[in-house]
Subunit: 308 residues, 2 copies
DNA sequence: ACCATTAATGCACCAAAGACATCAATAGAC
DNA sequence: GTCTATTGATGTCTTTGGTGCATTAATGGT
């Protein structure tokens, strides 16, 4: 025989109003039903809580002791209910996402700005990690989801493509290649190429895509981050092949980009999340915001939305 | 739509065991019933709490946040339940009673001793007040009940007679009246009588009972407490008319008592309590103990139990 | 003494929750 | 790759418990 919240609430109401009839009315209940509810509670507790006359109701000694406890219980229930609803409705909470630097710089600021305006009480923990580390963060559960590039499919990871972007050549405006309409990968072998480290996701992608070429480009400089390589291009040390989105802006004072073809190498950016692990409502909202932004072409430089 | 304790408990069990089947078994419930219970809770809260696969169960982000709150809620319910049961079963608690000094000295010690042996955790607050003040304490609710003398019936007071005792004459063994078999009230006018103050219940009772006498005794000394008057008798200052129970003991080294007749004035001692106010279980037990003691003739000096 | 009001009770009814049987999905064994 | 066993969800019927209506008993006020 279990005692329940409704019984406690009934007791409180009767105790406050000192009347079964009034309390029943207040609880949208018939008076007999309320009588029985109280009766049941008393039988569960093993002691009367209310001293009833046919004319009036008052608390018994035990009832008087129980009253404050009961009130606190109901209050805590209400509080917990409110709390969880707020959590569910994104009025409070926190999301953690892991994304690659490109996304952190070019995708997310606008999305975060809008999301934060709409859900001002959701804190955002943004882990800007390399493609590998970001995937690890999602896998370990440290991040609820991530923005990453499509790579070898891990069995526990679901990838939702968002945008496909080509690799482009970046060079200084005064570089010989700057005036070419487009450049083939083979042509690059004649120039000093700035590449990223062997463990980079981009590097592995390129190595894989270009493996069939006879004239494979060889990297003259090797750095760890794309932003560094851009800096070196800026300094006139060479040229670089980078995803178009990692370019700071269309109108850069020194840098120009041109398509890299034969082959056209693209990378797919998208959302990664663990299979079988529901997102928090807050994260769900974030993804919604993200998709909305992307739908209205907020991401310049990509080759547009893809369908899948 | 109300959410209830059972649902919270169900959620906790599933979260702990990470299995609907195991939790259902533990709750003595069928697995489908448990599924529905959780489902309902989730629909009330408006958010999923558990991420179910056909093979495993885990907490959602919201569920993880809710879990500790839920646990605390259930714990507090359990605690409150335990508490109130303990109160009802007299394992803890306190009773307050107001009694006249006679009762405090001669009725209660034995009763309290037995009661305390049986219910060692009930604290007893004993207000030893005058008849008037004691009645006031009961009326105000400060005392749950009292032991008092029968007086003008207050409408809110119920009086349960316990014992009737006569007034007796107390004198020193060397006093002229000491050898009389009995003494009439009229005879007292020739002796120095020690009485109590005008507001004493005993005094009012006597004044009332003796109002028809032509030879009314007049008090030579007036004190406030019967015990004081006994002391004065002991000192040889006079004699006193006191209720028999207020006599310290049958075999007092100095004092002797003898019946006071014409008329035989009796006072009725009994329990007083407020009408329409239930006693706490602890107090109920106390009254039981009290009645048991009195039934087996534990009160010497009275003229025995009376029936009403 | 009567009336009005209050809580309790008898009874018929209905809704919510439960059990049973079954289905769909999936991890693990081979 | 296929099959099996196990897990949670769902459909359906049953049952229990709670509810409302009508009525009763008790009591304070007139």
């Amino acid at each position: 025989m279990n005692y329940e919240l409704q019984q406690i609430q009934a007791f409180l109401k009767v105790a406050e109003l000192e009347s079964f009839q009034a309390a029943a009315q207040s609880l949208n209940l018939s008076q007999p039903a309320l009588s029985r509810r109280i009766k049941k509670l008393e039988s569960i507790l093993g002691t009367p809580l209310l001293a009833r006359t046919t004319r009036s109701v008052s608390l018994t000694t035990v009832g008087r002791d129980f009253f404050p406890q009961a009130k606190r219980l109901v209050d805590e229930f209400d509080h917990a209910l409110f709390n969880i609803r707020a959590l569910a409705e994104n009025r409070i909470g926190q999301i953690t996402l892991a994304c690659i630097p490109t996304a952190a710089f070019y995708f997310l600021p606008a999305v975060i700005r809008e999301y934060n305006a709409r859900y001002p009480n959701i804190r955002i923990r943004l882990l800007d990690l390399s493609a590998n580390d970001g995937l690890g963060a999602v896998l370990s559960g440290e991040a609820e989801f991530g923005i990453n590039m499509l790579s070898g499919h891990h069995p526990d990871i679901v990838f939702t493509p968002l945008v496909v972007e080509p690799f482009v050549l970046v060079c200084r405006h005064d570089h010989p290649l700057a005036t070419h309409g487009s450049v083939t990968w083979s042509e690059l072998s004649e120039h000093k190429l700035i590449g990223v480290g062997k463990m980079s996701g981009n590097r592995m992608l390129l190595d894989h895509e270009l493996s069939s070429l006879t004239q494979r480009p060889s990297w003259f400089y090797e750095v760890q981050h794309l932003s560094t390589s851009l800096g070196m291009v800026e300094a006139g040390l060479g040229v670089a092949a980078v995803p178009r989105l990692s370019m700071p802006d269309q109108e850069h004072p020194l840098l120009v980009q041109c398509p890299l073809i034969e082959p056209l190498v693209k990378r797919t950016l998208g959302m990664v999340r663990r299979r079988d692990s529901a997102l928090s409502p807050a994260a769900e909202r974030f993804v919604e915001t993200l998709l909305k932004h992307w739908d209205k072409g907020g991401i310049e430089g990509g080759i547009g939305p893809i369908n899948l």
